[in-house]
Symmetry: C2
Subunit: 488 residues, 2 copies
């Protein structure tokens, strides 16, 4: 620390200075969203390049606002991946939106920390109401308890904590105790990595996450699940939960939830549904059949920050049995006891974090600004675009589709004539990098049945048919290049 | 869901519309921060009042921006607790700031999701650099690995996951295995509730968190800690960690870290330091002595969203042994493998959540805008104001100070002449509610040695000596009222 001057601090920014600085930030964003294509999706940046540009010591003296914004643009933006670009089709698109930006501005200005109800009544009650709205839009049971988490991984961890409490409670009633060393949970080979991470976080080890075989559509095989549970029971393990997925990360497969719910009921296991990406599509009547059986689950997670145009981070978590979460995690220290306590919802009792941001405000803002109808229309359009691309892939002898296109993700690969599987993998890896290096699009990959597969994830509010047509042109052109490069 | 029209979606908001709407939001905030005193700190709101005002169904059609902002002001704001008000002195003040607001706006506009480095190089490298800056400002060892979490509770959970891995690794080397049913951790009776919650979340149960007795300054007694560990070892428990606090939540007590570090070393236990609130004051050379011994810890947590004017949520977590976190939690699914992977920091490997917001941008913005010097000056001023109030309390026969005022929190109570302890508790509870009901200030309480204690937490960028003088006036005046009410 340098020597400090004697002068007293001057308080927060003068509000007129903030007004000017704020207008400049808004103008920067307005220009940014007006022409997203002027920037490369993927930055042309080497590891460490930004680190090298930033000084080694924290700034000692204040910088004027204009200088900070200019430095942001000049120093930081060139190293940013533009998730907001209509050509961003990697992972799952995280669809932000302008109303979401305005809401985050207000959230930071109010800077509320939700602890119990009385620390911010508005934060608590808006969370209750907006999660009821969302649950109704998705056709979830009206009786479910909803709350917001930062990520689906965090929500799934809470689901497994509730599942463990549910099992512990049953064991106590039977006069025994749960042996933590023997707990196991079940999910499919194609489930999100967060399920395995949950068992790791809880100390059960990676192996405690039993990964059940999938069928030709990459959906969990109920018979294999049933056998795995029986085998574990024979061997003295303690099954506590099943995690089924509607819309897996790799290829948007849908596990057979009704059959899985039967098995969960039979063994009194907690059933958690991971619909982080695909859950939003339950808004559409024509997609609702993918969610059959979800009403029998104990908990359910969907990310409005994935496919509902709410900026990161907003995960909606629902449970039919909030009392187990509360039994597991509720602890009310003296300094948080308040007069109204017993008459209100106090989210801190249902979660590991004590404090929470006023995230509900962005769900409210986005729903108010776009309206449920337009969100639904946009999802429907994304699904149409994905099927359009899938149709072109199917009609093209040089390409092959690697998985069903039930939502807005297309899994495809290029098939160079006469190439071996290994050569095909290498050609697709070259193709993916060639696409990403154009800066026009960003795609990611997975492996399906061991083969390198290109994923095209459509989910941005600004992505249109024109973008998808242009991508298909590029894929075909660059595939031809990759093929001739492979021959050389 | 209502029937949906046939018209195709129209894409994101037109940028000129966003510009106008954004300026209006900034103007609202500028007016809000110009006159924070025009609003009550604590809303005059009954449980359920906001719920009743909000419709039961999600909005179907878009609303114009002006209408949404007007509804926000009219419907939501009256139910908001104003954490930004200079009279907010409850819990710990969460000091937001205008540069933090601008940063959150840009974070939402870029809407980056950090997974591994390549999903946003800027996000990763700015997090690396700003946490190095912060670590240097606080005098933490330069070799420590830093990362951002949303809350200190989440960071402490990660510390305990690393601690468990550390112990499991030692057990494996000794040819044995950790029995999850026997794990215990140690903290003081005055530690934050999140420590107990961590053992609950990990399935170890509340009792696995051993709460060690404190001395007359509310600091953990090292001898009691030593005895508790010895007793647990005799009884076949497996101690894995000690959590020491610098600046407890109740009364900012400082545990004797050097003595605790000796005990941790002796038993090869993980030592985690919770400096969530007080950690920021390590910037001040004259406060550095409170942090003696922290350099020997295995992990350390401080919340820039508490006392460094960064809006919620930004918790800085440091560890000397990141490899244990990585061993416990690293799992890289195929779809996240990238070419640069092995040459970069990939934060997802060290945390339960896969995705992370671009939170580093707000730490960068606040440090650039305020500068380290002014932040330090403001902290120094808050400490001066707390000591000023402490002095008035000490000089006033009708009041008593309940704990040392080492940082910016004053623990006090009113002593009505001739009142019993029970009457004194009741009078202080009345006094607290009377203060809060004025709407000028918001205070919270705790219990110290079983007695009701009023907490005055100074930490807002806008709080001045004038506010503290006015509060003291009010406390004296309302105490006299409470005393006469008690006599009636």
């Amino acid at each position: 620390m340098p020597d400090l001057p004697e002068s007293p601090p001057t308080g927060d920014l003068e509000s007129e200075e903030f007004r000017r600085a704020g207008h400049a930030v808004i103008d920067w964003i307005a220009d940014y969203i007006a022409h997203p294509e002027r920037l490369r999706v993927q930055p042309d940046a080497e590891p460490g390049a930004l680190l090298d540009k930033l000084p080694g010591e924290a700034p000692v003296h204040p910088s004027p606002y204009g200088e900070i914004l200019a430095d942001f643009e000049r120093t930081i933006v060139p190293h940013v991946m533009h998730w907001n670009h209509p050509g961003f089709m990697g992972y799952f698109s995280a669809g932000g939106s302008s109303p979401g930006v305005l809401a985050e501005t207000l959230i930071a200005a109010l800077n509320n920390i939700g602890l119990m109800w009385s620390s911010s009544p508005a934060l608590t009650e808006l969370e209750e109401r907006t999660l009821q709205w969302l649950g109704k839009l998705l056709g979830l049971p009206l009786s479910w308890f909803g709350m917001i988490h930062g990520t689906a991984s965090t929500a799934s961890l809470h689901a497994m904590i509730a599942a463990r409490e549910f099992a512990a409670s049953a064991a106590r009633k039977a006069g025994s105790a749960l042996d933590l060393n023997r707990l196991v949970i079940y999910t499919s080979e194609h489930a999100h990595s967060s399920v395995e991470k949950t068992t790791a976080a809880l100390g059960l080890g990676w192996e405690a996450c039993r990964k059940i075989e999938v069928d030709e559509r990459y959906a969990m095989k109920p018979d294999a699940l049933r056998e795995a549970i029986a085998s574990d029971l024979r061997n003295g393990f303690a099954p506590i939960a099943i995690v089924a997925t509607v819309g897996t990360t790799g290829c948007t497969a849908v596990d057979p939830v009704p059959a899985i719910a039967d098995i969960a009921a039979e063994h009194a296991l907690w059933l958690h549904i991971d619909a982080a990406y695909a859950g939003a599509s339950a808004m559409l009547p024509e997609m609702r059949h993918h969610f059959e059986g979800c009403e029998r689950a104990d908990s359910f997670v969907v990310n409005p920050h994935k496919w509902m145009f709410v900026p990161m981070d907003l995960t909606a978590f629902y449970t039919a049995r909030p009392e187990y979460l509360r039994d597991a995690l509720s602890l009310v220290p003296e300094y948080l006891r308040s007069r109204e306590y017993s008459r209100t919802v106090n989210y801190m009792e249902y979660a590991i974090p004590l404090g929470r941001r006023f995230r509900a405000l962005k769900l409210w803002y986005v729903l108010r600004s776009l309206g449920a109808e337009r969100i639904a229309d946009t999802l429907r359009e994304h699904i149409r675009l994905a099927r359009l691309l899938a149709g072109w892939v199917d009609a093209s002898p040089g390409f092959e589709r690697m998985a069903p296109t039930d939502f807005s993700l297309v899994c495809l690969r290029f098939r160079p004539a006469g190439a071996s599987e290994e050569e095909t993998d290498a050609a697709n890896e070259r193709l993916l990098h060639a696409i990403n290096e154009t800066g026009e699009f960003f795609l990611s990959h997975t492996k399906l049945r061991g083969r390198y597969t290109i994923r095209v994830a459509i989910g941005n509010l600004r992505t249109t048919e024109e973008h998808v047509r242009r991508l298909w042109e590029l894929l075909q052109g660059l595939a031809a290049d990759a093929e001739s490069a492979g021959r050389r």
